[in-house]
């Protein structure tokens, strides 16, 4: 696994690199850069699985950076002095927020979460960043009906009928999505807020009917769990 550290303070960058290398051992390789331009070069040239990102780089608004970062295929852990903006960072879809000054143990927890992203789910994201040709746009998750796997990407269907393509896979997205999003099929995540009914079709097949009348297939392996979720929701 390859992780990129983006931090403009020399000593902090050195500290992150040193501690991460010690904590991750052979599980990951780390690179460190001081600014976003260098980070952009690295991300284009190499495939990274995760980012350790400082929110304030030479005066640029950290959340402009964050929207770009979380829209990528990699997961993002924020390492920042702006403790008061941690909740906002989670809403933008970060995996973890490490406040400065940080201890070795706190950094270790964040690294574990980054290195084993599949084990974690039910994040606090409220928005997802979407790459567009013009830049990064924010999509509010409450407006998303369902998410379908599309190779290494994911397709988001919005309430207004539009679709958006996200760089992260369905499995990666699961780690940051809120509990409203549950797996209903091997290729689908559904937003429970927009489910009207679950009904059985012919040949023991199950379907979810959404508020806009659309139907989603339900995999046999997910029926029981989905019933539980819907009962809890009721």
């Amino acid at each position: 696994m390859r992780i990129l550290i983006v931090e403009d303070e020399l000593l902090v960058r050195q500290r992150l690199l040193r501690l991460c290398t010690e904590l991750a051992g052979t599980r990951a390789r780390f690179d460190a850069v001081a600014d976003l331009d260098s980070a952009g070069d690295r991300l284009q040239r190499s495939v990274y699985d995760g980012l350790l990102l400082d929110l304030n780089l030479a005066g640029e608004d950290g959340f402009d950076l964050l929207r770009s970062a979380v829209a990528g295929r990699y997961h993002c852990v924020v390492v920042s002095a702006h403790r008061e903006r941690a909740l906002q960072a989670f809403e933008h879809g970060v995996l973890d927020f490490v406040p400065k000054p940080f201890t070795r143990e706190r950094l270790g927890l964040a690294l574990d979460r980054l290195l084993d992203v599949g084990r974690y789910r039910s994040g606090g994201a409220r928005y997802l960043g979407i790459w567009h040709a013009q830049g990064t746009a924010l999509v509010e998750l409450a407006e998303v009906l369902w998410i379908r796997a599309d190779g290494d990407y994911s397709q988001l269907r919005m309430r207004n009928g539009r679709s958006e393509l996200h760089d992260k896979s369905l499995a990666s997205l699961t780690a940051v999505l809120p509990p409203d999003f549950v797996r209903c099929h091997r290729s689908y995540l559904v937003n429970l807020r927009h489910v009207r009914t679950l009904h059985a079709g012919s040949g023991s097949r199950y379907w979810l009917v959404l508020n806009d009348g659309a139907e989603l297939p339900v995999g046999r392996a997910h029926v029981q769990a989905l019933r539980g979720e819907l009962a809890l929701g009721a």
Partner: protein
């Protein structure tokens, strides 16, 4: 607002003057008359004064100017048509004469006024105005008043003798003018109350331009009606007439000087020395060369009012204050040529009382507004002090520095120790600065250098701060340069700031300090719109109300900031 204030002030003035004129007008049935004839009094063989009007006197027509110069005993004669019988028993006479006098009405002696004498030692001065109840009129149809008088105690020679009588019903003669003076007393009382209120408001507050001049004018406004009313209300023996006129003339002169002086000071109108000298010379010339007491007083005041109007027209600020004053001043200037001496004898006090009352109340309102402004400034200062401390411990900088410190403790303990010392010094500077409204430039520079030391220790590079300054005596609101340094570090980055050192140039031009700070530019698009800039602008506004300017912008590879501050002196 200024229109309603102007109209209110004008209406108050016109109302007071109208009431005065109505109450001061001669009551019905009263007639005024100057003496018709005059004659030197001839002594008896033994040198005594005659006890009754002799026959065969050398009467000549009255000449008030000539009479003003007579000292030795002399005779005056009035002849009046006798009234009809039904009101003949209820008549009185007021005689105004600067002399000791013995009166004979139709040949009958009336109570005397002082003691007529051949010399100053023999003479006992009489009162300048006397009232006598008259005996029945002559059946011949003509009443005759003959007065034996002497004026040895007249210390200066006035232009006219002003010898006249008023004859009418007893009630009119005794009560005439009292109502008008009641109006003057009310106006004086109101002015006195305004003065006391102004003094109470002013007490313990910082000085404001022209306050003393205004109080001086207030004192004159109180003294003038008192001196004027001395004669009609209390009366005095005639030798006091000269000093009273002199006092009135001096009060007029003082008012003529103080009113334009106050207006120039109050509205910050620059007046050249030549203009001041010319104005004073004109006043002195009026005093020295213009004949007649009333003429001199009227000329003095007209000059003063015209000068005041000129100053008010030249003033640029405070329109809402200037127009009501200008309206009153122009009304006074217009009344002087029209009413002349009559204006000086009464409406002038009212004019002065209304003008002074308006000025005092507006000045007091300004002091209260200044108080509110100062309270806001104190509040702003407290807020800025808090903000300075908060900026000093802002999470981004402090937490990053503490993270660097963590790393230094593990990797380079000696540098870590120096960083702790610098941090302690930084907080001491901030604590000290936040308690003060302004700090010397040297202290502010020490705070900046200390901040750069800390950042340099974390970066392991020195960040330079070059000074090109002649900054003796310059004080700044705390933290303004510090905020600029922080901004540069935040937006351009410490590395850029290490490669392009800060450069501060301080110079003085006329009444302004100019501080130019050049730093690395960086590439952040929103630079110059953040909390640092707002802090600087709020601090300068609080410390230099209406006397500051702050601009900043990119200049090539640098970011230039300029502060212009008006010198306190």
């Amino acid at each position: 607002m200024q229109i309603s204030r102007s109209l209110t002030a004008l209406a108050v003035l016109l109302g007071a003057v109208s009431v005065w004129l109505v109450l001061a007008s001669p009551p019905p049935g009263t007639s005024y008359a100057q003496a018709l004839e005059m004659a030197p009094a001839s002594m008896a063989v033994d040198g005594t004064l005659p006890g009754r009007p002799p026959d065969g006197l050398d009467w000549r027509p009255l000449d008030q100017r000539e009479l003003a110069g007579w000292r030795d005993p002399y005779w005056l004669r009035w002849r009046l048509p006798a009234p009809v019988a039904h009101d003949a028993a209820d008549r009185a006479m007021r005689l105004s004469l600067r002399a000791a006098s013995q009166l004979f009405w139709n040949g009958q002696p009336l109570p005397g006024n002082g003691q007529v004498g051949r010399t100053a030692d023999e003479e006992q001065p009489g009162r300048i105005d006397i009232v006598r109840v008259l005996p029945p009129s002559s059946p011949t149809g003509t009443d005759e008043l003959v007065v034996l008088a002497s004026s040895h105690h007249q210390w200066f020679r006035p232009r006219s003798a002003d010898a006249f009588i008023a004859v009418g019903p007893v009630e009119s003669i005794y009560g005439h003018g009292l109502g008008a003076w009641l109006i003057a007393a009310l106006a004086t009382g109101a002015l006195g109350a305004a003065c006391l209120y102004f003094l109470a408001v002013r007490r313990g507050r910082p000085r404001v331009p022209g306050a003393r001049l205004l109080l001086g004018l207030g004192v004159i406004g109180l003294a003038l009606p008192a001196v004027e009313a001395w004669r009609p209300l209390l009366g005095y023996t005639y030798p006091w007439h000269g000093p009273r006129l002199l006092a009135l003339q001096l009060l007029h002169l003082a008012a003529a000087v103080l009113l334009p002086a106050y207006i120039a000071r109050r509205f910050c109108v620059a007046v050249s020395t030549a203009a001041r000298v010319a104005f004073l010379a004109a006043l002195v010339a009026v005093l020295a060369f213009l004949p007649g007491f009333d003429n001199r007083g009227a000329a003095l005041l007209l000059l003063s009012l015209l000068a005041s109007a000129w100053l008010l027209l030249r003033a640029r600020d405070e329109q809402e204050e200037r127009w009501p004053i200008l309206t009153l001043v122009l009304a006074g200037a217009l009344a002087l040529p029209i009413a002349g001496g009559a204006f000086l004898d009464g409406p002038y006090f009212l004019f002065l009382a209304v003008l002074m009352g308006f000025l005092l109340l507006r000045h007091a309102a300004q002091l209260r507004a200044l108080d509110r402004h100062n309270a806001l400034l104190r509040e702003e200062r407290a807020r800025l002090s808090l903000q300075l401390l908060q900026r000093g411990i802002q999470p981004h900088w402090l937490m990053n520095t503490l993270t660097c410190l963590q790393e230094l403790i593990e990797q380079a303990p000696m540098r870590a120790s120096r960083l702790v010392e610098s941090l302690a010094e930084q907080f001491e500077h901030l604590r000290e600065s936040s308690t003060r409204q302004s700090v010397p430039l040297e202290d502010e520079l020490a705070l900046c250098r200390n901040h750069l030391d800390i950042v340099g220790l974390a970066l392991d590079r020195n960040i330079g701060f070059e000074i090109d300054a002649d900054h003796t005596g310059l004080c700044l609101p705390p933290g303004v340069l510090h905020a600029k340094v922080e901004n540069a570090l935040t937006h351009a980055g410490a590395v850029a700031c290490a490669e392009q050192p800060f450069h501060l140039r301080v110079r003085r031009e006329d009444d302004r300090w100019i501080l130019d700070l050049r730093a690395a530019r960086g590439c952040a698009p929103h630079r110059g719109q953040g909390t640092g800039t707002r802090y600087i602008e709020a601090s300068l506004a609080a410390a230099y109300p209406r006397g500051w300017r702050f601009v900043q912008g990119a200049d090539g590879a640098g970011w230039c900031s300029r502060m212009e501050l008006t010198c306190a002196s």
